[in-house]
Symmetry: D2
Subunit: 345 residues, 4 copies
């Protein structure tokens, strides 16, 4: 079977990781990436000798790219013509415009959490609603927090049923390297309920969700506390066991040395993971407590990389590469080296 | 009636605010403050011309104080002999030693949250269990987070009953000016349940409480999210109304410009409050949401000053200055200028 | 002699401190302050019972102010008509527009560092070039870093002559309470030379200056290191002596407990200074070292309040209240309680 | 020729990078690494399948390592017996004790900047004094800041002569993943002169150096500003040209997008460098300015990885693998993929 041909629009924090992820899938071919300007990430691509073909999404700025020696393989339109699926990781709002181009050439389009839900036919999560994405032309992925959160909630829901969740998102406010946003010595609160709770309900309409989000001045990993009301009785031990069994959840503990989000970033660097990335969310064993019949626990969301696996799942769904969620997510996990397929660099 | 004579041991972040608080109470007299070394706060006292008499808690270090011109009124023992009550805000563990001195002279002792519970006869909160402190010799106050949290939970509990609470504490990690502790670009999680949840249950044994605490690298104000299960049905509006009516809770909203803990610090500075302090906790109107029958909301705890009012209440209780919690807390509020008695500087 | 009538446009971080500063000057009268919206600072003014009359600079937004109960004394134009001098602390660029209004009514205008130099006839510093401001209609003050830096350089220059300076500005990136700007876990460098070095040369054209500025994620006080080439031979001791004698420079040391910018903020709070402000810059005794014949040292700039005294000086200059710089700055210092006139709250 | 056999004591931030560095040298063999406890880094080694043999430096804690399944190849003494050189990256003070063991077996020892100078026969820098290390038994490397700083100063000194330097070190206060140290919303100043200036003079005694160090709450890369007095006349262009030619200095500019230390970390991650490390220091083209005849510029020091190349040089020197500094440093650069030998992962 020939490989599915994939392009990536937007070579920023998410886009470059999507490109890396596609390049690792044995049954996909990365045709190229598109961006508009010689950003640091594009300059790094040049310094590495252009392992990925580069297409310009802003032909009128061609000269800026030429000036710093970025070889250009064509325009975004040229890229779109040559692929089966576009993973769109452009800035919020641009994806909606690019969609017209994807439609013109009958190419599938997968959008990220920053786009409006209306851009897509289905709001998608690899584990929670894979089947809804089968053969669909336009999918939208959940944002980083929602993606990680749904992994945990869906995992519990399939085992014991989840009636409702109340979440507190302790949000990192910037990525390492960001200068266009940041917060200094301040916590900032958003109006409740947080969009992540609302998004969870869109994907999992049988669960009631609400939550409060607080921004914090750090760059590594969100931490979310979840108060979940299960339908069947659970214990801290049984919840740990369920979460542990999920391929994209890593159980950790304070006693092992995982003191917070920064420990997880350091551990990923020590593992030799490219960029210090981690595809799995982490859940702290020693955070799991009961509140009456409800269970409360804390998870860590590695914001830069967490959505990559579910994006690969989305390619599989919209291209009908696999018909079932377990078959599809397993293959994604295998190629990305998640869980039992751990790759070491 | 003669004024109650009060001394303060430990002239640090809490101790100096206790001294200021006592000095404002019309029915108390601040006899003096005691510390061991010429810290910045003690040097500031000297620069201000010694408005408070200073006693040395470490006579062997007398020379260090002399060297920088701090006039010394005597030893800690001299201070203890001259007072009815000692407010002890020394470093954790020192209070337990000082207690022997207080016992020797039959003086009441009020300890802070850092001491072990065993140091005191009663674990005290002005609103939640004032009556338990009446005439007792040794009281221990709750820590800053617990003090603020109990204000809100006790307020709801008296109105509608509270069955259980699950809290997420987003903790500031240092005070402004601290160099002995801090965190850089990291969130740190503690083992659950947090001690604040356990402490709440000690004061309010009829409420089940659990919680997760995450340290964040900021210096102004903790933020706590509370998921509370009420015994009677509530709505966001009714919860806002209840919290608003509490003299030591200030309802704020994002629309007004209260974007987070730093806005509250700025507002207190703009009010002209000494040191930019705020005695009230804040609760965000636009954070109050329902999770099934549970209500969820966020409060802000100004860690440096929040415990001062309840300490004044504690003096009133142990000295039997007032017999009832409303009478006592009202008088504290009046002298500190809280709520309708707002003082402007 | 009747008091000089002063108005303040822009009631933000600088404007509200200018208002407080004017209110303290025995020979000036604060007629009122003007702003456009019910910001937190304006709401605090209301909560304090409107100690300052408030004028609206955006009559079309009158309703927003009404809605939250801010009593309005008139428009900015009404204020301008009633004063001798306007202190303009509006956002960068607005001052240039306001200037037309000031010109229309023949009112003096004093602008802050954010405005372009062309807005004013003279670029002003109370100690370095007071005489140039005498009777001039439009003055512009130096920004916070430049104001503090010039205090130190001018002080050395008058005593021993300064040939050149090379400065490194370690800049705080936001003020406490700021949410519109910030930096998270990053240092940011500006193109050299920094504007502060260029501004210093405008005020002190006989000194050659250059410098590099690095932004840091903190909110209290810039730290500047200065490498100065004196014309006469100096020693660390003689430099300390010269700086110590300046009324607006406070010599501190690490041994006393002044470990950095946060210690100075805490000390100002402990002194009881309103808002925890400090009008003086600090210079560290234990930072003063020789580099060949050059002297190197570090100063701290309290960014929120440092320019207030020089603004008062500017009123004195443009209104010819005093003819000489020492007479004028002394009177400012007296009313603000700087140096030997220390006020305690 | 047989490979030089190397061991690493201390598998922390520096030690694990030393092990990686040795493993890349074609003419060295990494025999193993030693540490005392199952830290996160040791756990990551286990998760990767033990690519490096692990020796225990605390046999009495054997059980702790066993408990988490770390296979142990022997004791530190066993490791020492089997090597030609030990790279010691243990906590400050431990190296001095380990030295006895190295002496007992006649093994060379290379210590890091945290040890006292007296631990070694020669204080070493690959570029500045390679020849002094030839055949010596005990070498001590300069700390991260000094290592990077000397690269730049030595580079200028060899070309135009440097009379003196005055440096301002804007120091990152923790590494990513650190929880044992940190600073929150504060700059902290050290007593001048900084030890880095003194250390520079030990290595380059013909240069006069002084400096001031300020700690900042960030985790990526120190920034140092240097004011250097050259013996021959220079221009910003000539200084850029000299620095550009150094294999371990990377010239960058703000216009390219290198806005600060965080941009460099991001760029290294985007290059695919393991752990996001960078062996080169960076120097900003647009920071280079003249102060009279002095030149001023800013460099970035990647604190976790900058000392690795000079440690490899030290192995070459003490083992007399190469006799000259250019030959030795070139070979190190080749194996580490620095400059023209860039390796891509």
């Amino acid at each position: 079977m020939s490989k599915v041909r994939v392009g990536v629009a937007g070579y920023g924090v998410i886009g470059l990781r999507l490109a890396d992820g596609v390049a690792l899938q044995g049954d996909m071919e990365l045709v190229g990436v598109a961006d508009v300007a010689p950003t640091l990430s594009v300059r790094a691509l040049r310094e590495k000798g252009m392992p990925y073909a580069f297409y310009t999404a802003a032909p009128e700025k061609h000269a800026d790219l030429d000036a710093v020696g970025i070889p250009i393989s064509g325009t975004l339109e040229d890229l779109v013509k040559n692929v089966d699926v576009m993973l769109d990781a452009t800035s919020a709002g641009v994806g909606a415009k690019n969609k017209e181009l994807y439609a013109k050439y009958g190419v599938k389009g997968i959008f990220q959490g920053g786009e409006k839900n209306s851009v897509a036919d289905v709001f998608f999560h690899g584990y929670a609603n894979y089947e809804k994405g089968l053969g669909v032309q336009f999918l939208k992925l959940t944002s980083c927090n929602t993606t990680g959160l749904i992994r945990a909630v869906d995992c519990l829901d399939r085992a014991v049923g989840v009636e409702k969740v109340a979440i507190t998102i302790i949000r990192r406010v910037a990525d390492p390297g960001d200068y266009h946003r940041g917060l200094t010595n301040a916590l900032q609160i958003d109006k409740a309920p947080s969009h992540q709770a609302l998004d969870l309900m869109t994907i999992m309409p049988h669960v009631e969700a609400t939550g409060i989000l607080v921004h914090t001045p750090v760059t590594h990993g969100h931490i979310i506390t979840v108060v979940a009301t299960p339908k069947k009785s659970v214990s801290p031990e049984s919840v740990c066991e369920l979460l542990s069994a999920h391929p994209r959840i890593r159980m950790v503990s304070i006693d092992e040395g995982f003191l917070g989000n920064a420990s997880l970033f350091r551990y990923a660097r020590d593992l030799g993971n490219p960029r210090g990335d981690m595809y799995e969310i982490a859940a702290w064993r020693d955070s799991v407590v009961m509140s009456g019949k409800d269970v409360m626990f804390a998870i860590n969301i590695p914001q830069e990389s967490v959505v990559i696996p579910e994006n690969m799942d989305a390619v599989r769904a919209c291209m009908r590469m696999q018909e079932g969620r377990i078959e599809a997510t397993d293959l994604t996990n295998k190629y990305l080296g998640i869980g039992k397929w751990r790759i070491f660099y």
